[in-house]
Amino acid sequence: MDPRFEHLYEALTKVDGFIYPNEIDLAWSVLIVLYPYITGLVAGAFILASLERVFKVKALKPTYAIALLTSFSFLLVATMPLIFHLGKPLRFFEILTTPHLTSAMAVFGFVYLWYLMVVLLLEIWFDYRHDLVIWSNQGRGMKKWIYKILTLGIKDISTEALSWDQKLGYAVTIIGIPSAFLLHGYVGFIFGSIKANPWWSTTLMPVIFLFSAMVSGIALVMVIFMLVNYIRKEKIDMKCLDTIGKFLLYAIIIDFALEALDQVHRFYVADESFDTIYLLMSGKLYITLIGMQIIVGTVIPLIVLGFMQFYKPKVKIRQWLYFITGILVLVGIFFMRWNVVIGGQLFSKSFNGFTSFKLDLIGAEGFLGAAIWMIVPFLILAFLLWLLPPWKKISEHF
């Protein structure tokens, strides 16, 4: 074979029908699936924390600090899939030093920094400040010095100072809710505003992303809350777990309704892209969309959680049901991101053909590379739970 055509023949084995040359290889791979997934976990976990603090759902109190620390650990990693996706990862800082203010993608650096510096760090700091001062006097060695640095040299724990912590922390949480909406609504906005792609281009996209973020974030905190209690050999607060389960159910109902609305609208309008999209949904995306996202990630959790609102099985069974449901929801939302990101690149914009995607095992964009960015946040969280254990907190907000 003429060596000039070798790559062409290999590439064409992936193609069905007619496709433009630049659509054969997917530009956005599994790392770009992880980016909205991790960002969603951040926003969702934060919203669960604010349910307790702002909306006074007091049963959720045991999860408050865990939710914040979870949100923080995942936020620290949220940019890594994006940076490693870049052809020149070491140039990533240019998005901050020379921002292109008319580019929606460039705005992410600032949305991210705002959320990290102004919202999460501050809220955690105000919530832990009283304890940090106490721990910095009790501990010894390295840990004591870390606490001392984290207090920023403020040792004042008078009633007046603590009441300021409360007020400022509360204010940050209030700012945090629209910021969490901004953070994840933004990710949906990026996809929703790509008007050339009918699978992405819908005004509902930011809202769908937001509610799916809440679903995944609540499920993640639920699973982590149970794991932390299991590892510490503590009895799980069932009232708290039932309340998380209830809010998870509400979030799934809204999310499912919105996504169903989007699909029903697509079916009813049936514009020129519909035939292709129908083929996509019933063909290449059948397993990940119908199987994983809808049945495993939505319908089964809806049935289980809905059932538990009317009939509460024994504690042990309930815990297992919550745990398994949480994992199913997390898997389902991952595949929702997968279907959006990968699905949107599988069909030709000529609407006359499809390409294929095969996930590599190794390499930065492979399965193992992506798995690293899913494991690192848990390691950070383990470190944070060691450094700032919520169960040793003395102070309580009101």
């Binding site: 003429d2 007619f18 800082f93 240019e94 030093t97 020379t98 292109h100 510096m117 501050l122 105000f126 400040r129 920023l152 040299g153 403020i154 004042d156 100072a161 300021w164 912590d165 400022l168």
Partner: protein, 145 residues
């Protein structure tokens, strides 16, 4: 103002100042000279070796073929479209030879039937059935088809 707020404002001011200082060193001097990019990049790109030479460079030696070409249908094509980039041949004309595409598949790259191609543009031929036993160049001179 409570001490926490004062300390945080101080810390944020320090961060912002550090950011501004770092930014000063990281942003190249010529950035923004013409647009949202490094102005010096234009000179750097312009000073790179040219790999495609253009028809004028080819006809300086191959003048008879050049004359043939501009009289035929292929007059709008650059020589390097079929023969590949000519830079190295220009430096070492004796030792480095360019591609000489002579097969049916070479012509088919432009002239095979393709629904995506405008019908009134490039002539399209049923490559499988149009004298399949011969090479295209046995009847058509590629420089004046």
């Amino acid at each position: 103002m409570p001490i926490q707020l004062r300390r945080l404002l101080l810390l944020f001011s320090v961060f912002i100042i550090i950011f501004i200082v770092i930014r000063h060193f990281l942003v190249p001097d010529s950035f923004g000279e013409f647009g949202h990019y490094r102005g010096d990049a234009l000179d750097e790109i312009a000073s790179q070796e040219v790999k495609f030479m253009g028809n004028q460079s080819c006809v300086a030696c191959h003048d008879s073929i050049g004359t043939l070409l501009i009289e035929g249908y292929h007059d709008y094509l650059q020589c390097e479209v079929c023969h590949g980039p000519g830079y190295q041949h220009n430096v070492n004309p004796v030792t480095y030879h360019l591609l000489k595409p002579m097969e049916r598949t070479d012509c088919a790259k432009c002239h095979s039937q393709n629904k995506a191609r405008a019908e009134d543009g490039i002539i399209q031929q049923d490559i499988d059935n149009h004298h399949p036993e011969r090479k295209c160049i046995e009847c058509h001179n590629p420089h004046q088809p």
